[in-house]
């Protein structure tokens, strides 16, 4: 079968303007030759962990096994409880004497099939019928060193615990508005996972947000100063915050660098670009670059005529 001609090729040498030629022109303009430059690729590589440290299978497996065991255990306990049988929450270890277990209420019990019990000695707790027939007063006392405890569910994996702590901090911060409480949880997170935490970046971001809500701008800025923030992905918002904090702290040149980095790829019309444009205009104005500031404010108003800083931008331009 002869392969069809590409639309992108056809539109280049055929002057007619049919649907395929139009689609070809669209596709030609949509081709991206090099979406990431060498520097961006190098930054991504730096963020990748060393493959020798990556051990996903044991982690994934252990989480899966833990969940399955936990669910199975829960299901067994629940079904046993519903049937009026043994419950670990009121029972003893398997080899503990029956005497330590409180007798279930009579109405909840099934009349046992007559079965002579020759030995009233300790019986296994799951054999409810036999245990019920054993006279309480005849049973030996429970040994002191064997307290009745339920079988513990498997301990969640480190990543699951870390995610739980971080989730609790986010809930405190965003749902409850309790920034101080969130910081306390983040301190606990750092204490436990400082060395091994896989969510350290997310924790750092949450900490910055909490500090800003508490008005502790200098501490937030110190945290952001210590981070490498590429002007892409999730770091863009942090980079904008850092630029604003640096500008407020009188570090205009550094703030300007952050805003420049964000505006170097302003393909998006989003909140971050809006902040960066206005922030850079403010930096330029403070540095005495009136023309630069005016240019940024003009660009800002053209892109965000109803933006959050539009009134201030118009006032600055004397409109």
């Amino acid at each position: 079968m002869k392969p069809p001609e590409r639309w992108t090729t056809r539109c280049a040498h055929e002057p007619n303007d049919d649907d395929e030629a139009r689609a070809g022109r669209l596709f030609r303009r949509a081709i991206v030759k090099q979406p990431l430059d060498t520097g961006a690729l190098a930054e991504i590589r730096a963020r990748l962990p060393d493959e020798t440290r990556a051990q996903p299978r044991p982690l994934v497996l252990s989480v899966a096994v833990a969940i399955v065991l936990f669910l199975c255990g829960g299901a067994v306990v629940m079904s046993a409880t519903l049937l009026g049988h043994w419950s670990p929450f009121r029972g003893a270890p398997a080899d503990a004497p029956a005497a330590v277990m409180p007798a279930p209420p009579h109405h909840a019990r099934v009349a046992p099939v007559a079965e002579p019990v020759a030995d009233p000695a300790p019986v296994r707790p799951l054999k409810v019928v036999r245990r019920a027939e054993a006279p309480v007063e005849d049973a030996p006392a429970a040994p002191d060193r064997a307290p009745p405890v339920a079988a513990e569910p498997p301990r969640p994996s480190a990543i699951a615990r870390e995610a739980a702590v971080l989730g609790a901090a986010l809930q405190k911060l965003r749902d409850e508005g309790d920034a101080a409480g969130a910081l306390a949880l983040l301190d606990a997170h750092d204490a436990e996972f400082a060395a091994t935490g896989l969510l350290a970046d997310e924790a750092g971001t949450t900490r910055v947000e909490a500090l800003l809500r508490l008005g502790q701008r200098a501490r937030a800025l110190a945290l952001l100063d210590a981070r490498v923030l590429p002007p892409s992905g999730r770091a863009r918002a942090l980079l904008a915050s850092r630029g604003e904090l640096r500008a407020d702290a009188g570090r205009g040149a550094e703030a300007r660098a952050d805003f420049d980095a964000l505006l170097s790829d302003d393909a998006l019309d989003d909140d971050v670009i809006e902040r960066a444009l206005f922030g850079r205009a403010a930096c330029r104005a403070r540095a005495g670059d009136a023309n630069g500031a005016r240019s940024d404010l003009d660009a800002y108003l053209a892109r965000f005529p109803d933006g959050r800083y539009a009134t201030r931008a118009r006032a600055s331009l004397g409109r």
Binding site: P4, R22, R29, E51, S232
Partner: protein, 188 residues
């Protein structure tokens, strides 16, 4: 456009497959281009590349060389991009992203060089239409027109038969044109 030809695809035994650094050096730019083309303007390409190579790093010990390394990388990229698009759809559904972003960006938002504006508008339009196609059609059209791969290369990367590639391409083109006309017709 540096299309990936079958003879350029390194056989598994030619690549130091146990070395993430080498794989990254050799293929990161290609993965980025695949991601950009498959994902469109909404996709965060550097996040996608990062995620792809995280997966690669984790699964490298399991790679037995049954498939070519590029095929393996492409499939990981495709899965990552698909996941990214799904998350994006979910985000939009949850209204984290304002509705009509794409439509808004189709109108000139600000004075920019005309060519740049046209390029951006074209890209948005292409993906607006592509996103309405079924995944199997979208994928083949992207690989054929944007990646400029041959049918054989597409068959190798995607694991479908060559004849199926042409069938999918034929249907994808018809659907694309119909949807494109509809979109343009809907536009005021």
């Amino acid at each position: 456009m540096p299309a990936l030809r079958p003879d350029e695809m390194p056989a598994a035994d030619h690549v130091p497959i146990h070395n993430l650094d080498a794989l990254y050096r050799e293929h990161a730019a290609t993965v980025a281009r695949w991601a950009a083309h498959l994902g469109g303007p909404r996709l965060d390409v550097d996040d996608a590349v990062h995620e792809v190579f995280l997966v690669v790093g984790k699964r490298l010990p399991e790679f037995r060389g049954d498939a070519k390394i590029t095929t393996w990388l492409y499939r990981i990229t495709e899965r990552v991009v698909r996941g990214g698009r799904r998350r994006d759809r979910l985000r939009r559904w949850l209204d984290f992203v304002r509705r009509g972003d794409v439509e808004q960006s189709l109108s000139p938002p600000r004075p920019t060089p005309v060519e740049e504006l046209e390029r951006r508008q074209s890209r948005d339009t292409v993906y607006l239409v592509l996103d309405r196609l079924a995944e199997k059609y979208r994928r083949v059209l992207v690989l054929f027109e944007l990646e400029e791969l041959s049918g054989e290369e597409i068959a190798t990367l995607t694991g479908i038969k060559l004849a199926t590639v042409w069938v999918h391409l034929h249907r994808a083109r018809a659907l694309f044109l119909a949807e494109l006309n509809r979109q343009i017709g809907d536009r005021p």
